[in-house]
């Protein structure tokens, strides 16, 4: 037991076991969990591919230890545990698909071997072998004849003939002598295997085996008699499949094929019902609820409905190595686990990445389910033959955060729109009925408003009252601030040149006021050069000479040297002086 550092998974998984040298070389299709002894403890059943040419084994793990292993004759293509009968205690059988056969193990002992029916043999090919047997032709002629059959015939050659064609001339004679007496048979091989409940949806209901073959067929086998219950054909050889439903009621077989399409087969139809054309080849196929999640070679994960409608697409960081579903019925949680080539296993619910697990090696198979007595166990095997077991923490929670940028969450929150009141309805009705009159009244009022505004503007221009210069050469703006309580006031004029870049020069300010009321320190001031944009405060002091509590207007003129009309005028309403002059 060597706990590994589990970085980045947010502390959701406990590292129960990691054996980097377990010597398990397998894929997700050859791994299953089943209670093989009926004691409530699930075992891990693995079809080990060994080195690919030798050392194929059926291995069973219990806890951290290898419990049993038995040699397999051929490379396993798939492995499933299933209930084949109703006998008590309920112990599932293990079916291993390899080559054209299914080996069924019960209590970990070989129980039954099922071989797929052989395919139709090319009659021409048969004739050629017949002639060879009778000694009418020599191997070289036979090679030529088989070569021509191979090119033309619709029925492909048998494995034996193909093998013969690949031989060197000196080996041919021996091969022919060895094989010419046996009749020719053409066999297909199994590419994928699945299980389909027969008549009940119970966890321990009897299941049929569903197998996909290289000859582009899908067979459903009876679990007790091992006869073919149903045969369906596909346009291409299947590679992966997912089966749901019950054979006697309604079922759906989703098959990913070697032509890059996914076909959906249903009961009472020997041809695919729906087809999903993928942009690139599928490498993983997982069903989550009613939807299908497909991993593609273009580093993407795509979701489809069971009728083949595309729902979403998520782009991944690295190529997919394997996929598996994570189903936790006790917590009502379903997700997809995706093993990536960058030593990571990512957990997706729909297109949202929920969590990621860093692994010390590239993961080649993933299996999630009940192992031992723990429901949420994740079992992974690595490229280097390692076995890794992680257990989901009881307290782990996956928050479904939408990582993809999109409309903010607030957008989907419904606004609390109040109900339509009677007043509102009446108003709408009125607007609908008298729309024309209302529009006219509005237009007339608008015209009047415009006229009034224009009149006021003209008046202001004529009397040069505006604090905004209308001159184009000296665009000026001014505002005046009066500070103080009296009798002495401070008058600040903020002058600004609003031109874009041209400065204004030779300006002066003069004041016009009632000399009996006010006294001003300097009623005429020169303004310095005005840089565009800056505000220049011009200050002066005004003294109220009257103590009668009256006030007047002081007129301010901004003048340009050499011109009689002011550029800008402003009327300042002086406040009433509240203090007395101290003479």
């Amino acid at each position: 037991m060597s706990p590994v550092e589990s970085g980045g998974d947010g502390g959701k998984w406990l590292d129960a076991h990691y054996d980097p040298v377990a010597g398990l070389y397998t894929f997700s299709s050859c791994v299953d969990l089943a209670d093989l002894s009926g004691d409530g403890e699930s075992r891990l059943v693995v079809g080990d591919l060994g080195s690919g040419s030798s050392g194929m084994k059926l291995k069973v793990y219990r806890g951290t230890a290898l419990m049993s292993e038995s040699t397999l004759l051929d490379l396993p293509a798939g492995l499933v545990a299933f209930f084949m009968d109703l006998h008590e205690p309920r112990i599932p059988a293990v079916a291993v698909a390899s080559g054209p056969c299914i080996y069924v193990y019960k209590n970990l002992r070989p129980y039954f071997k099922f071989t797929l029916p052989s395919l139709e043999v090319n009659t021409l090919e048969q004739d050629v072998w017949q002639q060879v047997r009778e000694g009418q032709i020599d191997p070289l002629t036979m090679k030529e004849m088989l070569e021509s059959i191979r090119k033309k015939a619709d029925v492909p050659l048998s494995v034996r003939s193909l093998r013969f064609l690949s031989l060197e001339t000196e080996d041919m004679d021996e091969f022919v002598q060895l094989h010419k007496q046996q009749p020719i048979r053409r066999q297909t091989v199994i590419t994928c295997i699945g299980t389909l409940k027969k008549s009940t949806a119970d966890e321990d209901g009897v299941s049929c085996l569903v197998i996909g073959t290289e000859s582009s067929d899908v067979y459903v086998l009876d679990p007790e008699a091992f006869i073919i219950l149903s045969k369906m054909s596909l346009p291409a050889a299947p590679t992966m499949m997912d089966v749901t439903g019950q054979f006697d009621v309604e079922f759906r077989i989703t098959v990913a094929c070697r032509n890059g399409n996914i076909y959906i087969l249903r009961r009472e139809s020997d041809k695919p019902k729906y087809c999903i054309e993928l942009p690139s080849h599928p490498v993983g196929l997982v069903r989550v609820g009613k939807n299908v999640v497909v991993g593609c070679t273009n580093e993407s994960l795509q979701g489809f409905t069971q009728k083949g409608k595309k729902l979403w697409k998520a782009v991944l960081a690295a190529p997919i190595t394997t996929m598996a579903s994570m189903d936790l019925p006790t917590r009502g949680f379903q997700a997809v686990m995706v093993g990536l080539a960058n030593c990571e296993v990512q957990l997706y619910r729909d297109k949202n990445l929920l969590s990621r697990i860093k692994t010390p090696d590239v993961v080649t198979s993933i299996c999630f389910g009940r192992y031992g007595r723990e429901d949420g166990t994740l079992i992974m095997t690595t490229k280097g033959g390692g076995l890794m077991v992680k257990i989901l923490k009881r307290t782990a929670a996956f928050d479904d955060r939408d990582s993809a940028p999109g409309p903010p969450l607030a957008q989907s929150v419904r606004l609390n729109v109040p109900k339509k009141t009677k007043l509102y309805v009446d108003q709408t009705l009125r607007e609908r009925e008298n729309g024309l009159a209302m529009h006219r009244a509005f237009q007339m009022d608008l015209s009047r408003l415009r006229l009034a505004a224009a009149k006021a503007y003209v008046k202001a221009l004529e009397s040069s009252l505006t604090p905004m210069s209308s001159s184009l050469t000296e665009p000026l703006k001014m505002n005046a601030v009066v500070q103080g309580l009296g009798p002495s006031f401070k008058l600040t004029l903020n002058v600004q040149n609003t031109a874009a870049c041209r400065p204004v020069m030779n300006l002066a300010i003069s004041f016009l006021y009632d000399e009996s009321l006010y006294r001003m320190r300097n009623p005429y001031m020169r303004i310095p050069l005005l840089v565009p944009g800056l505000i220049y405060p011009v200050e002066t002091f005004v003294e109220c000479t009257s103590d009668k509590g009256i006030s007047d207007i002081i007129k301010v003129f901004v003048l340009h040297e050499g011109r009689s009309s002011p550029l800008l005028t402003a009327h300042i309403n002086m406040p009433v002086s509240e203090g007395l002059t101290l003479n």
Binding site: G63, R373, E374, I391, R394
Partner: protein, 185 residues
Amino acid sequence: MGLFDKLAGWLGLKKEVNVLCLGLDNSGKTTIINHLKPTNAQAQDIVPTIGFSIEKFKTSSLSFTVFDMSGQGRYRNLWEHYYKEGQAIIFVIDSADKLRMVVAKEELDTLLNHPDIKHRRIPILFFANKMDVRDALSSVKVSQLLCLENIKDKPWHICATDALKGEGLQEGVDWLQDQIKTMRT
């Protein structure tokens, strides 16, 4: 207090102690408690506990009330509701289940960090159970895997037990009784 205790002892009245019996499912909690009960009250068949059950047994000087909690994952969130009442904890570990040792450690850590437990000095008795199984881990190995040496602020003790035969149980209960007595005085 001492005088009262002695008086109670003479009168045959024993001090009541509430003990929580925790541990993963199938670790042998109910079997252990069943073994500690008087012979005439022992059950023949042990079935998985649902929720929890309350059992009583007596030692030489104490009367134990044990909350035998279910260890199944879905009932483990019940445990914390009884932490307040517990004056001692019995934590049972399946020594033969190497795979789930991490789960036991996780549950123990959650227990020790719970606010109702964290700052109390309550004794914890560990039973490394199922010693009869062939490839069971030793009690030393179990305490190593559970990092028991990190428990500094509570008295704890680990016993290797076989609840089917009852081996090692008495040693643990004696220790627990001594601890409870020293805590009271």
